[in-house]
């Protein structure tokens, strides 16, 4: 008799036969197989007509679902493509196109134990309330101090990775929200250490700068559905406009900026370092670990950047804009946590950063939704998928220079509300390298044609 069981994120096989997927493990004296291949191993033994004692899966009990999920036409076709692909694959849809509902419908139709993997704690809350509302069941959660497994369980990427040895055999369907994260070297091990035969990946931004998205077909399944913002904008999503406001640095800020940048550029010139691509910059960062002078140069550059990003003039410009659009639901984005708190204190508006306790975060978002708050200032935490239903204006006070963050910040505003026209305004310092950063970002987005025109 051949026996197959789960061992800390892998499968062990006892018996006189191997499989094309296994490898002999001399440490324990059994064949060891990646949990990812669970489905393939079962198929292999079935085709070979070999009896198998399979104790791999330890599934939590099923619960009764009372689903209210109704899909739109494009959501129906997305789900159909996924199902025809053997309940595997990646769906690419723009933010706010209702990816959650497609996943919930998939759970409903498969009626099976499901793990939903999400990037942030906020998203755990959001998914759980959606599951409660639309499928009519309580869900389990792993991450942020909670550790309850139920038929439908939501976990962060971090927890799913760290707990793979205990959770890997407890689900038959695994849904990766913002699946582009899965391609990172450590998170990809989630896909490898879980046995779930059915897999769904959801994202608005399939491609990664490092090309690692090419790993996703092996981990989750092929890209089975892809629709860009343009195709949906106006029809299902609110269109939006984009404006750029240039602000000059105050004279003393400009002087400080020039001085710090001079130190940085001087070092580069002296060492003949060219800075053309993000990779060049990474190489430079490595040098700073060895050479204290390189580190000084880096610190000078960071200080210059901080001056440009946090310029008082920008706050003044922001005050004017806020004054002019006082009654609109507003989100303010900035990269620096310090600046978030500065703005929160200056304008007396709620702030959300990575430091904000979970309860307060929930309370702020809830009040924003209800209209008790009308403006939130935030650093990167709201970047992905968090539902902020009807914000109509977004301000960007500093950018990260990365395409994905940019698109998803746009996405934050793309909520379909009757008669709404969302606006995104970026406030950029003039005569600094930040203009270049912002330009690069816009440029890339345009090329990919994901951006809807005015």
């Amino acid at each position: 008799m051949v026996r197959l069981w789960f061992d800390k994120g892998t499968l062990l096989l006892k018996g006189d036969v191997g499989t094309p997927y296994g490898k002999w493990d001399p440490r324990v004296g059994f064949f060891r197989i990646k949990a990812l291949h669970y489905r393939d191993v079962l198929a292999y033994f079935e085709e070979s007509h070999i009896a198998l004692e399979d104790t791999v899966q330890q599934l939590p009990p099923l619960e009764t679902l009372k689903s209210k999920v109704q899909l739109r036409s494009y959501q129906v076709s997305a789900l159909g493509r996924w199902q025809r692909n053997g309940n595997r694959g990646v769906l690419v849809l723009p933010t706010a196109a209702g990816k959650t509902y497609i996943a919930l419908k998939a759970v409903e139709e498969l009626r099976t134990q499901t793990l939903i993997v999400v990037p942030t704690l906020d998203l755990i809350d959001q998914w759980r309330s959606r599951i409660k509302e639309w499928l009519g069941v309580e869900s389990g959660a792993v991450g942020g101090g909670e550790n309850v497994v139920r038929m439908i369980t939501v976990a962060t990427y971090d927890s799913a990775y760290l707990q793979a040895a205990f959770l890997g055999n407890r689900f038959r369907l695994i849904v990766f929200d913002e699946v582009h994260h899965l391609a990172s070297p450590s998170y990809m091990q989630i896909a490898e250490m879980y046995t779930a035969p059915f897999r769904m990946g959801l994202t608005a931004t399939y491609e990664r700068i490092d090309e690692r998205h090419q790993l996703l077909p092996r981990l989750v399944g092929d890209l089975v559905f892809n629709v860009a913002v343009d195709e949906l904008a106006g029809k299902h999503l609110a269109p939006y406009t984009y404006e750029k406001k240039y602000v000059e640095l105050a004279p003393e800020e400009q002087e400080l900026y020039n001085k710090e940048m001079f130190t940085f550029r001087n070092y580069l010139r002296e060492k003949r370092i060219l800075m053309k691509s993000p990779r060049d910059f990474q190489r430079f960062i490595m040098i700073t670990g060895r050479d204290p002078r390189a580190r000084d140069a880096l610190l000078a550059r960071n200080r210059a950047l901080k001056v440009a990003l946090n310029s008082r003039e920008k706050i003044k410009a922001l005050a004017k804009l806020l004054e002019a659009n006082k009654n609109e639901k507003t989100l303010i984005f900035t990269l620096h946590t310090d600046l978030v708190y500065d703005i929160s204190r200056s304008f007396l508006i709620p702030a959300i950063t990575y430091l904000t306790p979970k309860n307060e975060r929930r309370e702020i978002l809830e009040n924003f939704r209800k209209g008790n708050y009308n403006t939130i200032v935030t650093s990167q935490v709201l970047d992905e998928g968090i539902d902020v239903p009807d914000a109509t204006i977004g301000y960007i006070l500093s950018g990260t220079g990365s395409t994905r963050a940019y698109i998803q910040r746009l996405g934050r505003l793309l909520r379909k509300v009757e008669g709404k026209k969302a606006r995104l305004i970026e406030i950029v310092s003039k005569e600094t390298m930040e203009v270049g950063m912002s330009h690069r970002r816009r440029h890339k987005t345009k090329e990919k044609n994901v951006y809807a025109s005015k």
Binding site: D7, K8, G9, T10, K23, D25, P26, R27, V28, G29, R32, K34, A165, S186, Q189, E192, M193, M286, G289, R295, A319, K320, L322, E323, K326, N327, T330, Y341, S344, R345, S346, F347, L348, I349, P350, L355, P357, N359, E360, E363, I364, N367, G371, N372, Y373, N374, T375
Partner: protein
């Protein structure tokens, strides 16, 4: 453990080591300075403390050392929010105030809102501003700090550096002089897999289940957590493979107790007994004063693909036996244990407590139960001694067999049995018996050694000469002469054809005469 951004290493020819902070005057000074800064900051904001730490960095000390030490000190500190009003509740009030009307875009609007809320809460506007974000990390107040000596801080830092480097490890090998049980227990709890092999010492390789498929840093954190347990043993050697993240090259990271334990400080673990039964047995056995050396928690024994750490080992002149003490058990457990034990090449004794059976004792196969000793409450000594003696006899027979078949030609003038036995790893008795039987030509058998015939003749000649010259020979004199030939006179005296004439108990007065 520290964030890897604070790790600093040197790499050369495939070798990697953290840059440790040796207890130099300068490093001790930095440590002391920081400890003082924490001591003096009790009652102050964390941001002020951190500013002081930043200043130290700017003075040209390595920022990674300064921040690393500071982080370790943070872990000895208690930071608290001391605000009169609850900051989250206060914020809610403030935000609700601007929620309907929109952000306070002018200083006047802002002032008004703050004044109104402060009035309601019966605090001042300044207090309100201070309390608004008093629960933020940087605004917390240092309430208490557990002081530490500078030297100890550096030791903790060095251990943390080593652990941080291990985050990037793909596997770790080690050998230790004690603590095996604790290390294996922890290894299992951390979800790691071990594999043992013998290379003079017992070496254990540690990695995780998925390491079979590819080099992965996945188990690095768990491996790092294991390090303190390994190095709490008196002697250790640790060798890890580090997959260096910036270059993706494999490096060797080696730690040896003789070299590195001063860096980490002395943290030896106290040996504790698993149970009263074991402690009691150990006391009674030692009290017997037998020629067996009893050792608690000896080095592990390899049993096929498993590693066992027996509870006791008994050692006597090249013979070594182990004993496992089984607490609660089921028949299945016992069978499995015996299956495991069968795979060892070592002799195993299993002591099983009858009263702790979790089910009715079933008849274990007679043959299998051969070396099982059942007991109630106390491990009995007689059956164990009997077993030890039996085994010893067996071992001796094996040794004799081995020696007999051994092709040795002696050339040395004198072969001491004890030394030879030690060299061969067998008992002295066996050596004596086998050599008596072999009776190598050119040698004469003495009670404790073999002596070459010509050597003996030479000695005899010397002694005879002395007697002829002086008429008599004092015993002490004769001993000295024999010593120059490296012969123990008392054991050789009969074979030489002499005897000792005692006059009283004083050896000074003893004399040697010819037998006939």
């Amino acid at each position: 453990m520290l964030p890897s951004s604070l790790l600093t290493v040197w790499r050369r020819k495939g070798i990697i080591q953290p840059r440790y902070a040796k207890p130099s005057t300068e490093n001790l000074q930095v440590a002391n300075w920081l400890i003082e800064a924490y001591n003096h900051s009790i009652g102050k904001k964390k941001s002020i403390l951190k500013k002081a730490v930043d200043d130290l960095e700017c003075e040209g000390y390595d920022y990674r050392l300064v921040r690393g030490l500071s982080l370790l000190l943070d872990r000895r500190s208690i930071f608290r929010c001391t605000s009169q009003v609850e900051p989250p509740a206060l914020r809610q009030k403030i935000f609700k105030a601007t929620g309907r009307t929109g952000p306070a875009t002018t200083p006047e609007q802002r002032k008004n809102i703050i004044r109104k809320i402060a009035y309601k809460l019966e605090i001042s506007s300044e207090e309100l501003e201070d309390s608004m974000y008093a629960d933020l990390e940087s605004e917390l107040i240092l309430k208490d700090f557990k002081p530490i000596a500078a030297q100890d801080l550096l030791e903790k830092y060095n251990l943390s550096l080593a652990q941080t480097l291990l985050f990037d490890s793909t596997e770790l090998r080690f050998t230790v002089s004690a603590n095996w049980q604790k290390i294996f227990f922890k290894t299992k709890r951390l979800g790691l897999i071990y594999d043992a092999y013998k290379d003079n010492e017992i070496w254990v390789k540690i990695d995780g289940p998925a390491s079979l498929f590819k080099l992965t840093r996945r188990y690095g954190t768990a491996i790092a957590k294991l390090l303190p347990t390994i190095i709490s043993s008196p002697k250790w050697t640790v060798e890890a493979k580090i997959l260096w993240k910036f270059t993706n090259e494999i490096h060797t990271f080696k730690l040896e107790s003789w070299k590195h334990s001063p860096l980490f400080g002395d943290k030896q673990a106290v040996e504790a007994y698993d149970s009263v039964v074991e402690e009691d047995f150990s006391k009674r056995f030692t009290a017997l004063g037998s020629s067996w050396q009893l050792k608690r928690e000896p080095e592990p024994v390899i049993a096929g693909k498993y590693v066992l750490i027996p509870d006791f080992s008994f050692e006597r002149e090249g013979a070594k036996l182990y004993m496992e003490v089984v607490g609660f058990w089921t028949t299945e457990y016992l069978m499995r244990k015996i299956e495991k034990l069968k795979k060892t090449e070592d002799r195993m004794l299993v002591a099983v407590d009858e009263t702790l059976a979790c089910e009715r004792m079933s008849k274990l196969d007679r043959q299998q139960s051969l070396n099982i000793i059942y007991y109630r409450s106390k491990i009995p000594l007689p059956p164990i001694l009997r077993y030890l003696e039996d085994s010893y006899r067996e071992v001796r027979m094996q040794q004799a067999e081995f020696l007999k078949n051994l092709n040795v030609t002696f050339t040395e003038p004198v072969i001491k049995f004890e030394e030879f036995a030690k060299r061969m790893g067998v008992s002295t008795e066996v050596v004596r018996a086998v050599l008596a039987e072999k009776n190598p030509s050119n040698y004469i058998m003495l009670p404790d050694s073999l002596i070459r015939k010509d050597k003996l003749e030479q000695l005899k000649k010397k002694l005879d000469q002395q007697i002829a010259e002086k008429g008599k020979l004092a015993f002490t004199e004769a001993v000295k002469i024999a010593q120059t030939e490296k012969v123990d006179l008392t054991s050789a005296i009969q074979t030489l054809g002499y005897k000792i004439i005692w006059r009283g108990i004083n050896t000074e007065n003893a004399e040697i005469i010819k037998l006939d």
